[in-house]
Symmetry: C2
Subunit: 306 residues, 2 copies
């Protein structure tokens, strides 16, 4: 964009522009533009809230993404926390620490992507904060959602014998990152799965959180982990890539446990999920190979489970 | 602190430590440790939400504050947004982007200050996010509060003829900052009023927001602006310091309008407030001197009111 057009908008003009981009929400009595947003409450529902930070060069690199896509992803990773507890998102709050070199157009693209992704899931941008940053682009996102009273799915709910399921395929995003870092080309499918954000800690670590909260353990069958065709192809050259599916992170898929053992056989009920193992009483996480031996994951992901 | 003790805690250990510091809240069914916090909803109340970013070298300098006081202030500035709308705070969410040189002890002190200030106002820390930062300490705070349904005090509520009130005294914090920047000593009273954060935009700008939202104007009587004894003393040497009270910012006092003209005369009702002017129909903000002439504020603060 033209350098002359950079950073001409005052904070107030930017907020006015953002107000025009946001839609109406039945639950939101007052959105952007006052000290707080105001929402109706309903006794039938519980309120879910989650907050995330995304920091440049920690969670993303600006040269690897458009600001629009970064905005979409910032909303998506936060909304996935609401989905993980069985809720629906309602409102989003966005804080932006803006380095001087981010132009008004860049800001608008980022915010447009953020609002688009939110609305795709039924959530309106309801407030936020913008300020200068001397240390790169800094994004904070808070999402509020709701779930029928008492029906939130918590980590501590896993019980002995429960089956463990994941949605989608794992490892694609970490594989794309590995290729990018090595200067290799990344095919279209993998690059589309690469989210440029490493907030999700990977299967082993995220499952570890569930197990620790529930005071139980689990056994995962390595052969049951859902992998994309592209990922399997890459594994033909290097079998240790399985570690990327186990601990690579950046997989914005869901993991959950259920006493029902055959959910993966009913695609009409829950499409695209795979059963990958079962909850057991011994408080450890075992990775079982097809030959019956235990597998030791080489790369991180165990840190959070002690 | 001993360098050997720096950054030994894993993220998970830090979160466990934080969990131990937080108290119980009747409204909070589930706090720290899952994907989202869960809160009860109540149809009689509206939900208030506000979010702020605090970025090192933009909003604060680490050498000018203890981490404990910075934590307290981070909670306080956010909670003041709930108070500004007539609500009470219930929950706080804290995001911390942590530079490598911030030790575990520093982190704990910051968080302890944050939790203490929240609890002082009845708000529990209910969730958050911690990650590394390469660009200085970055703090994001979201606060949720509640107000009786339909009773939130909005900016757009100001009407022609309303009196304008502020709480406390103005300009102290900006005066302390000015002295610190000039290398002068700051007496105990002023340093206690210096909050190291410049989120509040100053009287002229904050009042401008109310006026713009309500489509009205105002006239402020300069002589009515409440000033501390220390501030008046400094003004004896330099009368232009009044601009710090008008536009210096960092005054975490409240400003509000009311059709009642004598609120400041009833300290038993609302202690410590001053009537500083009145709402008028002409859409501009006039600063009236004691001699009847209009005063032109030299330093910022007008930016947001157009």
């Amino acid at each position: 964009m033209c350098a002359d057009e950079t950073n001409k908008l005052s904070e107030f003009e930017l907020i006015s522009w953002i107000e025009q981009q946001t839609g109406k929400s039945e639950l939101l009595s007052l959105g952007i533009g006052d000290d707080c947003a105001i929402q109706r409450q309903n006794t039938d529902w519980d309120l879910l809230t989650s907050t995330d930070l995304l920091i440049e060069d920690i969670h993303f690199k600006r040269q690897w993404t458009t600001l629009y896509n970064l905005g979409r992803k910032a909303a998506a990773v936060n909304i996935s926390d609401i989905a993980a507890m069985g809720g629906v998102p309602v409102t989003l709050y966005l804080g932006i620490g803006r380095p001087q070199e981010i132009s008004d157009l860049d800001m608008k693209e980022f915010i447009a992507g953020f609002i688009y992704e939110g609305q795709l899931h039924g959530a309106e941008l309801a407030g936020g904060d913008t300020c200068a940053s001397k240390g790169g682009l800094m994004i904070s996102v808070t999402v509020q959602g709701q779930v029928a009273h008492g029906e939130a799915i918590c980590r501590k709910g896993a019980s002995f014998g429960d089956a463990i399921y994941v949605s989608g395929t794992l490892g694609d995003s970490a594989l794309a990152l590995k290729k990018l870092l090595a200067g290799e080309s990344v095919d279209k499918y993998l690059s589309g799965r690469f989210h440029l954000l490493d907030l999700s800690d990977g299967l082993v670590s995220d499952l570890g959180h569930i197990l620790k909260a529930s005071g139980i353990g689990a056994e995962i069958e390595l052969d049951s982990i859902p992998l994309s065709q592209e990922f399997r192809q890459a594994m033909e050259d290097d079998a240790t890539l399985i570690d990327l599916a186990l601990a690579g992170g950046e997989d914005y898929e869901l993991i959950f446990t259920s006493p029902l053992k055959d959910l993966a056989d009913q695609p009409e009920l829950l499409p695209g999920i795979s059963r990958i193992g079962a909850v057991c009483q011994q408080q450890e996480l075992r990775l079982r190979q097809a030959d019956g031996k235990l597998y030791q994951c080489q790369s991180g992901g165990f840190d959070h489970f002690d």
